[in-house]
């Protein structure tokens, strides 16, 4: 598609823009950027499972919530810094993905999706029910320590922005590594046709388990970050079905099974939603009405997503130019 040197150049520009963005924008804008980075990161994590291996999970909120609760419990009960808690949360999420995967991988397609919804719901209901363990339905606010970088708390919003940016960058880096490795090819093979992949010697169950582990770990990190950012946790926030939905949505709208798809999708969805919100105020239902219309349009007309549309447009420009060059000798 693009020459390697051109893509390195583009990446450099992108990083430079991302790095200066918080320095030149107001608090409201930074808040939107942080949301974009966070959901793009969750989308990237989902995409490893849903995009490359085509295991369409609708329960990634399970791992988001486990990450969020692990770091919060460690901080409040044992004074552990969320920096450590974040990785502990990722580990808990990754461990939880093993039994959940063992159950859900028995099912394919829509029933896999339903089973993953059920696991996230069960976790939410358990956290609602067992009040002694983790504050029940009321949830809890995190202790406000002021400016405490070691406890992942900051005065301004810019540090949160850079953490989210680092998370997204690492998620993209991991995706890139997997894409290029044997694992990436196996994943795509399993995603295309699981039975055929098994027939040529791919251990589909194992490869799915491994990628689920990575995907859950990353989603767990996102959970910790989110709680640290909003200073509050309860089961309905941590295990919110909307997290599961948005993770899948941004990937599909942007371009499922591609490196940059989830990022493009999040930028599109969050930008339109922010614009709509400043235009109409926060009217319940507007955002998801819009999201679902975009999703239906993508499925019916552009299954390759926004990235597909852009690639197509790019190719058309390049081809048009090439055709113009070729036209002369052909006619003459």
């Amino acid at each position: 598609m693009m020459r390697p040197r051109a893509s390195v150049l583009w990446l450099g520009v992108l990083v430079a823009v991302a790095a200066v963005l918080p320095l030149v924008s107001g608090a409201f804008a930074i808040d939107i950027f942080i949301r974009v980075l966070l959901f793009a990161f969750i989308g990237v994590a989902w995409n490893l499972m849903g995009g490359y291996a085509k295991q369409l999970s609708l329960g990634h909120a399970a791992y988001f919530g486990l990450g969020a609760y692990t770091s919060t419990l460690l901080e409040i009960n044992h004074g552990v810094s969320p920096w450590i808690g974040m990785f502990a949360g990722g580990l808990v999420a990754a461990l939880a993905s093993l039994p959940i995967g063992a159950l859900c991988f028995r099912l394919r397609g829509p029933y896999f999706a339903i089973a993953t919804i059920a696991t996230a719901q069960v976790l939410m209901l358990l956290f609602l029910k067992f009040r002694d363990f983790a504050w029940g339905a009321e949830g809890t606010t995190l202790p406000n320590l002021g400016d405490a970088p070691l406890m992942m708390q900051f005065d301004g919003k810019a540090p949160y922005y850079y953490i989210a940016l680092a998370l997204l960058a690492s998620g993209l880096g991991i995706t890139r590594l997997i894409e290029r490795s044997w694992m990436g090819y196996y994943l795509v093979a399993v995603g295309e046709d699981e039975d055929a992949a098994e027939a040529v010697g791919v251990n589909a169950t194992r490869i799915k388990r491994h990628v689920y582990l990575i995907s859950a770990f990353l989603t767990g990190l996102a959970g910790t970050f989110y709680v640290q950012y909003i200073y509050f946790i309860d089961p309905n926030t941590a295990f919110s079905f909307n997290v599961s939905v948005e993770a899948a949505l941004v990937s599909i709208v942007g371009g499922i099974g591609t490196l940059w798809g989830p990022v493009l999708g999040t930028v599109l969805l969050e930008a339109t939603s922010a614009m709509l919100q400043s235009w109409l105020g926060s009217l319940g239902g507007v955002q998801l009405t819009l999201y679902s219309l975009i999703l239906i349009a993508v499925i019916l007309w552009r299954p390759a997503g926004l990235l597909g549309v852009l690639t197509e447009a790019w190719d058309r420009i390049v081809h048009a130019r090439a055709a113009r060059v070729r036209e002369v000798p052909l006619d003459g």
Binding site: Q121, V122, V245, T289, Y291, I296
Partner: protein, 289 residues
Amino acid sequence: MLATLAQAVVNGLLIGGVYALVSIGVTLIFGVVKVVNFAQGEFVMLGMYISFFLATRAGIDPLVSLLVSMPVLFVVGVLLQHFLIRRVLGLGDMPQIFLTFALSLLLMNVMLLLFTADYRTVHTSYTDAAIDIGPIYVSVAKLIAFVVAMLLSGALWVFLHATDLGKAMRAAAQKPEVAMLMGINTNRVFCVAVGVSLALAGAAGSLLMPFYPAYPMVGQVFVLMAFVAVVLGTLGNVTGALVASLMMGVAESLGIQFIGADSGAIVVFSMLLLTLAVRPNGLFGGWAR
């Protein structure tokens, strides 16, 4: 103790009848068209709002407005199949799952925009009525819902087994290519199947209205229950879905009675996960996938 148990079982069976209408719809679409309709619960919700507005604006009893909600949703189902589902058939899991999933999100949020998240209830003459059978208390509204649900399920069974269109539907479900070769217009059969499924969902909505509040997200309660029942009852198996729905109703009711008011859903989801662990092909009808 025994009376409490019997009471919980009766309550569960009665609500299980309504779950059955939703599950049968899901399993019928899956069996014939091979698509899981994630929006089935939202059509129950639409049925509820139709009955709600007919009751509050025109004073029509929800049981009578069944005669409106069922045909309206039948037409919606035919249009849904013809203009949306048909376009994603054979395209793989992603478009099939997320088309109906997007539709579900769309319907919930459009209703939220139009009618807010307020709970809407209809109070009929029989809403609070009850029959006492010994120590057991049977709500009349729920009993009516159960009886009508069973009659509709029976009518569906007769339709599938005794009419040409029903037989064509079962044929198209088993071997779509062969059915097409035998001169069955599969798209027409698919349209009728989705229409009938949605009509059942609409019926469930109208039957619920006398004793259950309508709100934009209400469908989620029923669709998750239906998914569990459909997996439990073996995918695509109508009788299996019916029996499993009644079981789910009883299991949920026992969970509420003996574990706690907030535990019905935990019991139901745990049953799903347990089923998947032990018998991923469901309890009935062997190994059909």
